[in-house]
Amino acid sequence: MQNAVNGAHQIMNRYSALEVLKGGLTGQKNWERVWRAPEPKREYDAIIIGGGGHGLATAYYLAKVHGMTNIAVCEKGWVGGGNIGRNTTIIRSNYMLEDNANFYEKGMQLWEEMAQELNYNVMFSQRGIINVAHSDAQMDSFARRGNAMRLNDIDAELLTREQVKELLPMLDYSSKARFPVYGGLQQPRAGTARHDAVAWGYARAADMRGVDILQNCEVTGFDIKDGQVQGLQTSRGVIKSKKVGIAVAGNTSRICAMAGFNRLPMESHKLQAMVSEPIKPFINTVCTFGAGHFYVSQSDKGGLVFGGDLDGYNSYAQRGNLPAVNHVLQSGMALMPSIGRLRLLRHWAGVMDMSMDGSPIMGTTQVKGLYLNAGWCYGGFKAIPAVGFCFAHTIAQNRPHELNENFTLNRFEKGYLLDEKGMGPVPGLH
């Protein structure tokens, strides 16, 4: 399939069980570089800033759907080193507001076929997500969302306390629970994936279609003439392009400042993630605690992967502080009193591009040829394929796809708010 595509200038291993078998017999000599390490060209038809999930998926869809193969992805460090490499990998489309629901559901469909699409096993495991409810009011509020999901043709189940108990026997159902379990909202098709594999899979598939992935290529400035972007200054020299897409999550304000507009409806906050030591299968779904800040799933390696709320103040640091960790575990222990004897293996943080209504921004900007994709808050991972699909469309066609036509930068001024949590313009609360 790949070989038939224009611009694919090399033949790579097609990954398969047979090829793995061959590797075992040949001392693994049969494997080639997963993506090339090219020198930057002088000019590209489009450049994406940011070699994370969003940037790589956008490059892939530009090449695949829009036939643009003379394109590059500029990554200041190593591919997949930002939020795609430090998130808790939850994939879901359990949104209430229609714009979000439709977008994430498109993403969900792309996730379901991603491994075959990329010929890379991203390990999307549809183990479901359960939002545990702790009051009748919360059950009603979850039901409102679940009903909206059903009416938007997205899978959702409202679980009783007994059903939750069956699926999550380790929760606190005792009379000592401060907030008893009332039930839950489940999206069975939701799940988790292997986050690094998503970055590598897109990098490989984009590279196969001719995309140049430029690692250690930090953008230091924009060349803009008469309101039209002309190219980029980078740590690897000047690179020309009339189309530039920005997909840099928490660093959006910094990059946009280089292009002359730093005042955005957005703040950078850090979110911590944690992983326990690996254990045998313990929890078979993603679970979130409705009465505190805690969510958890288990990776294929066996570690419990969990997190909670933002640390709560503007930050560009990829490391967290302890009060937030204590708070997460306090919630975790209140929900699952048996986890006290497990151990925390690592904790770290990612920088989130928190928008003013908690929903994304994707579209054109005041600079011609410069496109912005940002504001994904802590939901950017699950958005990857749909972002790639829609942002590529936006860049190639110079107008948004219908799925992202309401994610505009000027919606805040118009009052078109996509505020799932109803917290208002306080980014740290979304």
Binding site: R263, N314, A317, E413
Partner: protein
């Protein structure tokens, strides 16, 4: 653990405070002359710098005063603190 020097209580742990957000934006004032755009900019747009940042912290578990803080968003170093109306250096009036 970020330590904030409350002008009234002295240096305290961040857990005594709640974060009040951006203090770079100036309130446009309640008057008929103020435009909707000014309110929009105040409520929605942020400098969001990577580096020194002016922000408010509310000493809720202390003196309940809003404290102005200049803090580096990359290193979390607290560079200066003062009362809510203090000018902490490098600030436009």
């Amino acid at each position: 653990m970020i330590r904030i020097n409350c002008p009234w209580c002295g240096e305290r742990n961040m857990v005594e405070f709640t974060y009040g957000g951006d203090a770079i934006n100036k309130y446009p004032g309640l008057s008929e002359e103020t435009t909707a755009e000014q309110y929009f900019e105040f409520s929605y747009l942020r400098d969001n710098p990577c580096g020194p940042h002016l922000e408010y912290w509310h000493h809720v578990n202390g003196c309940r005063q809003w404290v102005k803080v200049k803090r580096d968003t990359l290193t979390h170093e607290v560079l200066a603190t003062g009362p809510a109306d203090a000018l902490l250096g490098g600030e436009k009036e």
